[in-house]
């Protein structure tokens, strides 16, 4: 396992560097000029040239890449082209919105998707199972922003139970206001994420229910719930965990849409604006951090899978 962890860590670091390089090059292939975000109609050529020189965007790509890598090695994302503020603290401040949003939505989604998914599988041939299956299909088909808009309309505009949008200026120093601000966005994401998780859990459970080992366990005298929990859960969890990892990562990246609908100062809204403005340092910073988080999620999912599935560990021993 130690060898595996070391190898897996090396892969993580190399992936991060590769992602950084690809990102850096792709960003500069986009048409558009970072100077445009800072200048308006009325600026003359000298002003445009001065801004490019100030930003360093007039330098050859190789030189810019050198600066980027040198800064990255020091965990320094530089200063925003547009706001002139350092990028790293801004990302940290945005993470205090995006991370709780993602994690809370994930926990909520799992909390209702796991029991309902198993129930849908157990009752697959009854109307409850069919209804759950159909509902989850609907959840997958409906765009997340539409769910957000509907929830805002019903819960915030009509019933006035929760704020329609925004995040308190004081952030988490007022935890109740912050939690209320995140409640609707969390519910929105959880509904969509839960719908797809439910389907995966349902099909994983169906696989387990039909498996030989479950019948054997019951033949050896285990009750159905006991067989399901002791043997079924462990077998069924392995594929679900890798799906969970992917879902978690895509929710983090998909926060963009939800943050716009709810006017939340998160990473997603920062990224969208930075791309439109060709604010390279901010785009690079946000994408490096999200890439790192996604890679860490993948890493964690792999490790957990290995911990619960002895077959994967055996492969490891066989290979070495």
């Amino acid at each position: 396992m130690t060898r595996y962890l070391m190898r897996r860590t090396l892969v993580l670091v190399l992936s991060l560097i590769a992602a950084g390089l690809v990102l850096f090059v792709l960003l500069r292939l986009l048409p558009g000029d970072p100077a445009a975000a800072l200048l308006s109609v009325g600026a003359d050529d000298a002003q445009i040239a001065a801004v490019r020189a100030e930003l360093g965007s007039d330098q050859p790509i190789a030189v810019q890449l050198g600066h980027f890598l040198a800064d990255l090695a020091r965990f320094d994302f530089g200063r925003s082209f547009v706001s002139n503020a350092p990028v790293a603290p801004e990302i940290l401040s945005r993470l205090t919105v995006t991370l709780p949003l993602t994690l809370a939505a994930f926990a909520l989604a799992l909390a209702f998707a796991a029991p309902l998914g198993i129930l849908a599988a157990l009752r697959a041939d009854r109307w409850t199972g069919a209804a759950l299956s159909a509902l989850s299909q609907l959840g997958l088909a409906v765009p997340v922003f539409w769910i957000g808009l509907m929830l805002v309309w019903i819960v915030a505009v009509r019933a006035r139970l929760l704020p329609a949008s925004g995040f308190p200026t004081e952030g988490w120093s007022d935890p109740i206001a912050a939690a209320r601000a995140l409640a609707l966005p969390v519910l929105t994401v959880a509904l969509v994420m839960g719908a797809s998780l439910l389907r995966y859990i349902r099909s994983a459970t169906l696989d387990v229910l039909g498996a030989d080992y479950l019948r054997h366990a019951r033949a050896l005298g285990a009750s159905f719930p006991e067989a399901l929990i002791r043997h079924g859960l462990r077998n069924g969890a392995a594929p679900v965990i890798s799906i969970i990892g992917i879902e978690l990562a895509s929710t983090l990246l998909g926060a963009v849409v939800v943050e716009r609908v709810f006017a939340l100062p998160g990473l997603g809204s920062m990224l969208v604006l930075a791309i439109a403005q060709r604010d390279y340092p901010s785009v690079q910073g946000v994408l490096m951090v999200t890439t790192l988080l996604v890679l860490l999620i993948g890493f964690a999912a792999d490790v957990v899978q290995r911990l619960i599935d002895p077959r994967l560990r055996a492969e490891e021993r066989g290979a070495s």
Binding site: P31, G32, D33, A35, A36, A37, L38, L39, S40, V41, G42, A43, D44, D45, Q47, I48, A50, V51, E54, V82, S83, N84, A85, E90, S93, R94, L149, V152, W153, A156, V157, R160, P163, A164, S165, G166, F167, T169, G171, R260, V261, F262, A263, L264, P265, G266, S269, M270, V272, L273, A276, Q277, R278
Partner: protein
């Protein structure tokens, strides 16, 4: 809060009345309904978050909205009706040759940091705008400034290389900043009635009334600007009482939600934002006057305005909005007349029409306008190929490289007819008569002389169909009932807070 508001409003109610109100479960402030609450914090919803806090560092229009005349003052202000009024300037004298302007400063003005205002601060502030690294779009209009002297703390002497009748107007764009402030991209030190108390990027910007303000106290205690990227979220914020005012409604459809006049007030003013179809006047066929006039006559501006803004907005017929002193109604020039458009096109040598590419910014209302233009021009045999581009691409391809045939754009500034006096501007309009009139207007001895010349230039660009000006956007501000005193025109996106009253 309620008690605080009572205390500041001069105790119109006796304390016992307040206690009765409390006993009845009614807040004392409610008894004051109809009276402005000077302790109120205004909650303002906007789509324009500043990118940083320095108007010479590419902060965008959001900084004008939040800071102009609120946090920073200037020697002059562009009032909401378009008039130029003195603010920090107590006196202004011009030498006989028109080249030396002596400004006297108001007494007793303090910056938010506590430093007193001196002539050196004004000199520093003007030099910031004309400095080499300045990103201000106003840099060019201050170019005639040769030197700035400060003979004493109350006097600023500006020497010009050529006469500049608009100097006071142009100085209304120059924030007076404390010369000790340093980098102001993330903080402020102005003399305005409000000081910045917090800015959370992507979310809110908070202002509080400044105790040491030299002028009349504002009608409120401060403001919080909340920023949105989705117009729907902005509207919901007003519907759910999360904000008191939204500064600019972007679509008439949204207004129906606020039609209940007992709950909301809709104010329509005249903006300075003009939507236009800019030809590249350098290239064929748009270098041909007849072609430009033909195309202008083929597009029904009135129908377009109705399609986009319903009953609102204004047809202008030229680049000059009614709040500019040189406005004249030119909607009759090249008015909608498809028959004469077709005839003119034939005269110009295109009896069977031609085709061109229309570079269209990818945000509202440009894509829908492009489709409309395409349909209108198809009727006279002209084919439009719509090419959708981002704002950033627009700036590089069109503004910088002039690599286009025609484009749609909106121009937001007040008094920007001067762009037609610059033959190197992106649209490449080059009429020496207009260039001359615009230059002469600036060196006029009187404002009447300036207005006369610019009115003439305005008529010529319209007759030349230099561009096709569709309409002036309406300026729509919606507030909760009981909130009043806000600017309705919002020239240059300014949003003066000091006179806004919120009923208790």
């Amino acid at each position: 809060m309620a008690f605080a508001s009572l205390a500041v409003s001069g105790l119109r109610l006796s304390l016992s009345a307040g206690l009765v109100a409390l006993a009845l479960g009614v807040s004392p402030a409610a008894l004051l309904a109809g009276e402005a609450d000077p302790a109120a914090i205004l909650r303002i919803g906007s789509l324009y978050e500043p990118q940083n806090l320095d108007n010479t560092a590419g902060a965008g229009q959001g900084i004008n909205e939040a800071f102009n005349d609120n946090v920073y003052e200037a020697l002059y202000r562009l009032a909401d009706d378009g008039a130029v009024e003195p603010v920090l300037a107590a006196g202004h004298e011009v030498s006989a040759d028109g080249l030396t302007h002596t400004f006297t400063l108001k007494d007793g003005v303090k910056f938010h940091s506590g430093d007193p205002l001196t002539a050196k601060d004004v000199k520093y502030s003007i030099e910031r705008v004309i400095a080499e690294g300045s990103k201000s779009s106003r840099k060019k209009s201050l170019a005639p400034i040769a030197k700035i002297e400060t003979p004493d703390d109350r006097t600023v002497v500006i020497t010009l290389t050529s006469k500049s009748i608009s100097l006071p107007y142009n100085l209304s764009y120059v924030w007076v900043v404390n010369d000790a402030a340093g980098d102001i991209t993330g903080k402020e030190d102005g003399t305005g009635p409000y000081a910045l108390t917090g800015w959370k990027r992507g979310s809110t910007l908070s202002l509080k009334a400044f105790d040491g303000y030299w002028g009349t106290k504002p009608e409120n205690a401060g403001a919080v600007f909340s920023y949105f990227t989705e117009a729907a979220a902005l509207n919901n914020a007003l519907l759910t009482d999360a904000v008191d005012i939204i500064t600019s409604v972007q679509s008439p459809d949204a207004l129906s939600q606020f039609s209940d006049t007992s709950a909301f007030t809709i104010a329509e003013g005249k903006s300075t934002t003009k939507q236009l179809l800019a030809w590249n006047d350098r290239v064929a066929p748009f270098n041909n006057l007849k072609v430009r006039k033909a195309l202008a006559r083929a597009i029904d501006d009135k129908k377009l305005l109705e399609a986009i803004w319903g009953e609102r907005g204004t047809l202008i017929g030229s680049f000059v909005p009614p709040t500019d002193p040189w406005y004249v109604d030119l909607t009759g020039v090249d008015a909608y007349d498809p028959a004469s458009a077709k005839a003119l096109l034939a005269e110009a040598g295109y009896p069977n029409g031609f085709s061109f590419t229309l570079d269209t910014p990818n945000y509202d209302p440009h894509p829908i306008t492009a489709e409309f233009v395409k349909a209108e021009l198809a009727k006279i045999g002209v084919t439009v190929n719509i090419n959708i581009i981002t704002a950033n691409e627009w700036y590089e391809k069109i503004y910088q490289k002039h690599d286009f045939q025609a484009t749609l754009q909106e121009h937001v500034n007040h008094r920007d007819i001067v762009f037609y006096g610059n033959p190197d501007f992106y649209w490449g309009y080059d009429n020496p008569k207009v260039t001359g009139l615009i230059a002469e207007a600036e060196t006029s001895d009187t404002e009447a002389g300036q207005t006369e010349r610019l009115t003439e230039a305005n008529r010529i660009i319209a007759e030349d169909a230099a561009s096709d000006w569709f309409f002036l956007y309406p300026q729509l501000v919606v507030s909760k009932a009981g909130v009043s005193g806000y600017p309705v025109n919002g020239l240059n996106a300014q949003f003066f807070l000091r006179d806004i009253r919120k009923e208790g």
